[in-house]
């Protein structure tokens, strides 16, 4: 009698396997690597200016008592073009945004900002992704909310789409804006 149900066991296991595969296809896993630095202070850094028109960026610029956005971007990054209007809107709303340009040339950043608008107060150039690695960022674009004492409060991975703007404003408010 026992052998009877045992006969179906391989088929049942196979069905389970198929179910797992189908589930994986329909609900793919989140492939983003979140920074473990959220809640921790920014590491010490000082970057040269990425363009002639704006100063460079250092850790001291984030300990002014007012929360700011830190946008990690690059002129060669296509989704960075998509988020440009949202950054412009945030800047127009009075949010202070600093940028870090990853592996970029001065003339390329200048041309990119001339084309897509420049919402940044300061832009540092990170030529070997050193600061990117130090803050646990794994790609471009990423946007960090930094509170007035220089502590990373929130990380947004990927481009900022219009529906993300209220969330970022909320996070800035939580950080003391």
């Amino acid at each position: 009698m026992r052998a009877r149900w045992a006969l179906w066991l391989p088929l049942a296991l196979f069905a389970l396997f198929v179910a797992v595969v189908v589930a994986g296809l329909y609900w793919p896993k989140d492939r983003e690597v979140a920074s473990a630095m959220v809640g921790k202070p920014l590491p010490a850094f000082a970057l040269r200016p990425a363009i002639a028109e704006r100063p460079g960026l250092a850790k001291a610029d984030f300990t002014t008592g007012k929360p700011r956005l830190l946008n990690v971007f690059a002129s060669w990054c296509v989704p960075c073009i998509v988020e440009a209007p949202q950054l412009a809107q945030l800047a127009a709303d009075g949010v202070e945004i600093d940028g870090i340009a990853i592996r970029d040339r001065r003339e390329d950043v200048t041309a990119f900002l001339a084309r897509n608008g420049n919402p940044f107060t300061r832009i540092g150039a990170d030529d070997v992704s050193a600061i990117q690695l130090a803050i646990g960022s794994s790609g471009v674009p990423e946007t960090f909310v930094i509170d007035g004492t220089g502590v990373i409060r929130y990380q947004h991975i990927g481009e900022i789409r219009p529906e993300h703007v209220p969330l970022l404003l909320d996070k800035l408010k939580e950080a003391g804006a």
Partner: protein, 140 residues
């Protein structure tokens, strides 16, 4: 013959324009593609790089990947090893920033201990079952 020539030209075109379509135009970081002069240090760096995950290309180690970010990570690993830093300290620095995800060398933690315990439990279970079968067999 002419078709072959066109094919060759097309192939040459792909080879020449391929790298130009890369993500960025900056040259790679100093030690992304250059080994350390000290062979012992290079061996240490290589061993570490093979167990660090590329964040852009998630099934490759940074030693295997041509992603610019992996090159920057290799350069940083080599420079820190050259400066005398311990490989495990560099791994810990990266884990502090990206979580266990960045490391291919598994650690025993509150979350991962069942992975290490399960094979031992299965072995013990198998030993028990075999013992019952063989020891029980001689008795009957």
């Amino acid at each position: 013959m002419r078709a072959l020539l066109i094919l060759l030209l097309a192939l040459f075109g792909v080879l020449v324009t391929g790298p130009l379509a890369a993500q960025d135009t900056l040259p790679p970081a100093p030690y992304a593609y250059r080994q350390l002069d000290n062979p012992a240090q290079e061996a240490k760096a290589q061993a570490l790089m093979e167990t660090l995950r590329c964040l852009k290309c998630q099934s490759q180690s940074i030693a295997d990947s041509d992603a610019p970010m992996a090159g920057d990570m290799r350069s940083q690993v080599r420079q820190r090893i050259a400066a005398g830093e311990d490989p495990e300290a560099i791994r810990a620095w990266l884990v502090e920033r990206y979580g266990d995800y960045v490391s291919y060398a598994p650690r025993v933690t509150a979350l991962t201990w069942p992975l290490f315990a399960a094979p031992l439990l299965l072995l013990a279970l198998a030993a028990l079952l075999l013992r019952r079968r063989f020891v029980g067999g001689t008795k009957s």
